[in-house]
Amino acid sequence: MKQGYAVRPYEPGDRAHVLELQQHLWSSDPALNEAYFSWKYEENPYASDVRIYLAFQGDQAVGMRGFFGSRWEAGVPREDVPLWLPDDLVIAPEHRNRGVFTAIMNAALEDLATYRSGFALNVGGAELTVLGQLSMGWKSIGSLDPVGLPSPRYRRLHRWRRRLDRTRFFWRLSNTRWLNVASRFDWLDRWASSETQSPGVIRVTRRPESEAMASLIQRLGHDGRIRHVRDVQYYAWRFGNPLREYRFLYAGGSELTGYLVLHRSRSNRDVSAPIHISDWEASSEEVAEGLLDAAIGGGRFPSIVAWSTALPAQATAALKSRGFLPLQRERTARGSYCGLVRSLDRALPPEQWTVAGRNLLDPGSWALRMLYSMVG
């Protein structure tokens, strides 16, 4: 490797290195980063140890990539699918474009293959990360089809910000609070407690009803496509992400007929990030659309983003009919919203990348939801 870099797996004494590096990515808040690290890598119910690979120059950590625990399934009857998910790539600014990323990934995949055979799945990512992995033999499984709904108010405010940005003296005002529309749950929370809301139809909570959600997933069945297991254990852990704030919209009583999960970022690096639909399930089109309308109407968000790739056709149609448009075509074309897969066995030809009889390179084999990645 160039310039005296060395890559090795994480050791308990590396915690401080990880937290320092992640100030470039997760947030600049050390306490929040500490909480996120603990939740993702130490409290993760699907990982027995911390799988992070660090690059060092001398005793200075200059880069890292993490692989967080997960549990996937496919097929009918279901089979467990061994998948490693890379995430949290950081290269310290002064060490970029020196081959550190390639070195970390090569070392990581070789090491992971000694633990468990299988595949690595990358969901989303920055353009350079996607291109870097493509150049290393990863294969695309297609776009995640992101769609977004900007509110008319947000569009107007955004136009005013752009005009101010171009002025000589008033450009500083473009960052004032009243123009910098952050996504919050204020309106949704007010709507949820207002008398105008029909009681018993849609309710909103701040914590997941894990058992009820898992029960719904069980009742809805599985078409065999590759997806993350969504059971009580998963829901109970998943929504403890300290970098996210969630709202759960439920339809039905103790036996749910549907749910829709929204999230916003708590990181100070995502101040103007939109609200996202992390997950969305329903027993009927009517329930699904009711949940969506409650999120849009009750939330009054500046913008909402969803991944439509794994949604049923009627859900995608519902998004489109309510004004959701394909998101950031330029970024999507650059691969920022695509899935990539790679066999840990370098000798295995791509045509043999199959699990439960499903070809991993066929987009139709996957039911990828935002929730399964850390974007959600």
Partner: protein, 83 residues
């Protein structure tokens, strides 16, 4: 792209991004088999195809090892999309 020698122009561009290939690169030289072209080189190539040639590249459906395995394959890719 000048009609005179597209292959020469592309080879010169790649040699600029990947100096280690300078002097050894021809139309059949593998570009991705052993990491000859890294992520930055691939980004430069995408940008070159889009800006210099005017052909958009959909990265989400790209398979560089197969579609851009060497200079000849890249030129073939470009010609297919210009039609």
């Amino acid at each position: 792209m000048p009609e005179s020698d597209p292959e020469t122009e592309l080879i010169a561009a790649i040699e600029e991004w990947a100096p280690g290939l300078a002097g050894t690169l021809n139309a059949e030289t593998p570009l991705f088999e052993s990491g000859q072209l890294d992520s930055l080189g691939l980004l430069n190539l995408v940008t070159w195809i889009e800006d210099r040639i005017g052909v958009p590249v959909d990265v989400a459906s790209l398979d560089p090892a197969r579609q851009w395995s060497n200079v000849a394959a890249i030129l073939h890719y470009i010609e297919q999309r210009k039609r």
